[in-house]
């Protein structure tokens, strides 16, 4: 029922879990996305992906406040193929709404890893870039790209719904061009990301890779 990698060399330790829990969780590493060998098929897939960006409804920070106008009548993001989804399993875009506190970062990592590939991350506002308003806070991370791969940054405080729309269109362009490979970056540098995450999340009581 659970994938257990046979190759012991290439498994994760899951040291944060109890022995009992270790039996329950997968210890496999994430796998990179391989594009379709035929370019036309891959292009078509990218076109389809770009036009059905489903956003995970997780308001991680203050940027979430502008998601509501974005999703309602005035800015109506649905017409761009954007929809909010309550579960990571159905979502392809994770919008980081500004700052991430350490406590939230843990949940962000968990939700992100549960998302199905191909998946994309948009970081809103100044805080994920360089700490922003909370550059000296003891509870918020300063450089979000240390912990998860970000495909697109939209700066400003706050970014308005208009620029969110522009960001989504930009993301669509990038996806169609096959340039959004944040998730693969995460796979390739998994150990580095994981080490960074563990450096700030001190009570690591979840699997190393939440699949």
């Amino acid at each position: 029922m659970f994938k257990k990698s046979l190759n012991t060399e290439d498994t994760l330790e899951n040291a944060g879990l109890t022995v009992e829990e270790q039996q329950l969780f997968s210890n496999a590493r994430p796998q990179a996305y391989e594009p379709y060998p035929i370019k036309a098929v891959e292009d078509f897939a990218n076109w389809a992906r770009a036009n059905s960006l489903w956003i995970l409804a997780f308001g991680t920070g203050c940027g979430a406040i502008e998601m509501r106008p974005l999703m309602t009548a005035r800015f109506d993001a649905n017409r761009f193929g954007v929809a909010g989804r309550p579960t990571p399993r159905q979502s392809s875009v994770f919008v980081i709404g500004g700052y991430a506190s350490v406590k939230t970062l843990k949940r962000i990592v968990r939700s992100y890893e549960q998302m199905q590939g191909p998946k994309f991350v948009i970081a809103l506002g100044i805080c994920p870039v360089n700490g922003g308003m909370y550059f000296d806070s003891y509870n918020t991370v300063n450089r979000f790209d240390q912990y998860l791969p970000v495909d697109l940054y939209i700066t400003g405080c706050m970014p308005r719904p208009e620029v969110l729309v522009a960001g989504i269109m930009e993301l669509q362009k990038m996806i169609k061009a096959g340039k959004c490979n944040g998730a693969n970056r995460y796979v390739d540098n998994f150990d580095w990301y994981k080490a960074n995450q563990k450096k700030v999340i001190k009570n690591w009581d979840m699997p190393d890779y939440n699949w």
Binding site: F75, N130, C157, V163
Partner: protein, 602 residues
């Protein structure tokens, strides 16, 4: 549950016929509001790089970075703000505090990038699409984060001041000084502009803290004449004070004076308590003006035996004999001089070099010499009749008054000139009861005299006739009177640039009779005490010294400073010359120590 309750949700259908809320093209159709706070715009030409934006930014989003094309501009730090959009929260406090009014925000809000390292730029230097944006946030009229207006200085009323040699400016009280000190933004641009590089923001800070003793210590680090400079400094610092760009500059001079006024003279030794070094060297100083005494003060601190030679009966030079006591009371000047003498500076009064002791002897007997004899010879107009006995020199009138002699000017006089000496002569004459007309060949706005001096002299009843070129002095009826012929001038633009020049209009001549004419058109140096060989060795150019590094001349032991060695010819420059020469003399006397120290640095 009624039927109405069941049907009410269907009421939403009614809205199907109303205009939808949806914005068709959100990214194009919706610019930010006219006063939207978006990305920054900086007019770099207007910006002076004071760094107030950097100071106020709570997110440390602003770096001050050097921009080559602005390095070395007057009153400009050469730095410009660079914004980190991984930090900026669009609060606009930087715009609110901007002293130059150069910073504002555009109503542009879209900046999307894949690279998180992209998000910084130097506004106005790096090319960004919003740089030309006309809309966006700017500080509203009537909204200030620091008081733009200066605290009014209490002054003697004109009706009183014109009758007395008492000081006109009364000085701030503690409350006023604190409020004025509060206006400083602590950028430090004034420090670079001050010839002596005084620690202006620091001593202003000490006023806010109420720690006047610390303020005094800070001032003496670079200037042993704070009481004097606090009254008569030409205050170039204030001309570059960024607070003055949109409001009135911080009254730096009055604040300096305030500190000195708060400290009693007899506490000076305790507060300053200068350590005196150990040295066997002897240094002679010619001229006990601000330059000479400043050098003496800093040289003495190194432990050298310092002797000052002064041709007159009192020390102070132009400060005593050229500045009237309603601007600088003798007691205040003495406060400064006495402290310099108190640390062990020896002074020989009534001793003229070349008459009482030769320059060559001095050179032989001392390890180094600092010369600062200033500009003591009044310039001549070189017009016909100038040698008329009723044509007096401004310097002489001022010296007479300072020494308590009657200059004998009469009741109706004319002053020629537009500098501070002319103003002083005019105002002194008013105090002696004369009606004063001042003739100046250019416009009032061209006058080299201090604006305050011009305003105050006019308030005191000095009639200023501008664009008046004297062409001839004529005899009048009686030996006690004199005639002057002058012509009106028109200002003509110089095709080669430079300021407009006055051109005499020969068909518009006037002749007027006065009791005397006071000529105050400038001074030059008297180097009669130097032999021509020495003058040659010193490489004097254009009638003035041109010292090399550290005020050193081409002669091994000789250093110069003061009015005859700089182009600004004011007290503060002389003080710095003296201080700098003291540094130079130290290096000259102890070359090993400095070479060692420099090698260690590298």
């Amino acid at each position: 549950m009624s039927l109405r309750d069941l049907l009410s949700p269907f009421y939403v259908w009614q809205r199907a016929f109303e205009k939808p809320y949806t914005t068709k093209r959100p990214t194009l159709d919706r610019p930010g509001a006219p006063a939207y706070r978006g990305f920054h715009i900086n007019i770099t030409e207007t910006c002076v790089g004071c760094g107030s934006c950097h100071t106020i930014c709570q997110n440390h989003a602003i770096d001050m970075v050097a921009v080559d094309e602005y390095v070395g501009r007057d009153g400009d730090s050469g730095l410009r703000p660079r914004f980190d959009y991984g930090r900026c929260c669009w609060c606009g406090l930087c715009v609110d505090i901007c002293t130059a009014g150069s910073l504002r925000m555009s109503n542009e809000y879209a900046w999307i990038s894949e690279d998180p390292g992209d998000f910084h730029f130097t506004a106005g230097i790096d090319d960004k699409p919003w740089q030309e944006n006309a809309l966006g946030y700017r500080r509203a009229e009537g909204y200030h984060l620091y008081p733009p207006k200066r605290i009014t200085m209490p002054m003697l009323p004109v009706e009183e001041s014109v009758n007395t040699f008492d000081e006109v400016v009364r000085g701030y009280d503690k409350e006023q000084a604190k409020k004025e000190a509060d206006r400083c933004v602590e950028c430090g641009i004034c420090v670079a502009t001050c010839p002596a590089h005084m620690d202006v923001p620091d001593y202003i800070h000490s006023i806010r803290d109420g720690d006047y003793e610390k303020g005094l210590q800070l001032m003496y680090r670079t200037n042993p004449f704070p009481a004097t400079c606090g009254r008569i400094c030409t205050r170039r610092c204030e001309s570059v004070c960024p607070v003055g760009i949109l409001g009135e500059p911080v009254a730096i001079r009055w604040l300096k004076r305030f500190i000195v006024d708060q400290v009693d003279k007899k506490d000076y030794p305790r507060i300053l308590n200068e350590p005196i070094g150990e040295s066997d060297f002897k240094v002679a100083i010619i001229g006990a003006g601000p330059g000479g005494l400043s050098a003496a003060y800093y040289l003495r601190q190194q432990g050298h035996a310092v002797t000052v030679y002064e041709s007159r009966a009192s020390a102070g030079g132009m400060l005593r004999y050229g500045v009237p006591s309603y601007r600088l009371p003798d007691v205040e000047l003495d406060k400064d001089i006495e402290h310099i003498l108190a640390i062990g500076v020896d002074i020989k009064y009534d001793t003229e070099i070349g008459r009482d002791i030769s320059f060559e002897t001095l050179l032989e007997d001392n390890d180094a010499i600092f010369m600062s004899t200033g500009l003591s010879v009044p310039s001549s107009m070189r017009i016909h009749g100038e040698d008329h006995p009723r044509v007096l020199s401004g310097l002489q009138v001022l010296a007479d008054v300072a020494s308590g002699r009657d200059p004998g000017i009469g009741k109706k006089i004319a002053v020629i000139g537009g500098g501070n000496v002319a103003m002083d002569a005019a105002r002194v004459s008013r105090r002696l009861g004369a009606d004063v007309t001042l003739l100046y060949r250019r416009r009032i706005s061209d006058m080299p005299a201090d604006d305050e001096e011009i305003d105050e002299s006019q308030a005191e009843g000095v009639v200023i006739v501008q664009q008046a070129i004297p062409v001839e002095v004529l005899d009048a009826d009686g030996t006690e009177r004199v005639c002057i012929k002058w012509g009106e001038a028109k200002m003509v633009d110089d095709p080669k640039g430079g300021r407009p020049r006055p051109v005499l209009q020969e068909d518009r001549m006037h002749t007027e009779t006065y009791d005397c004419i006071i000529s105050a058109i400038g001074q030059s140096s008297d180097l009669g005490y130097l032999s021509s060989e020495v003058q040659d060795q010193l490489a004097i150019e254009w009638g003035r010294f041109k010292p090399v590094e550290y005020q050193h001349t081409m002669m091994e032991k000789v250093f110069v400073g003061g009015d005859f060695a700089n182009r600004t010819a004011d007290a503060i420059s002389a003080i710095e010359d003296g201080h700098h020469a003291a540094r130079g003399i130290n290096r000259f006397l102890n070359p090993d120590a400095f070479i060692k120290a420099e090698m260690q640095d590298e």
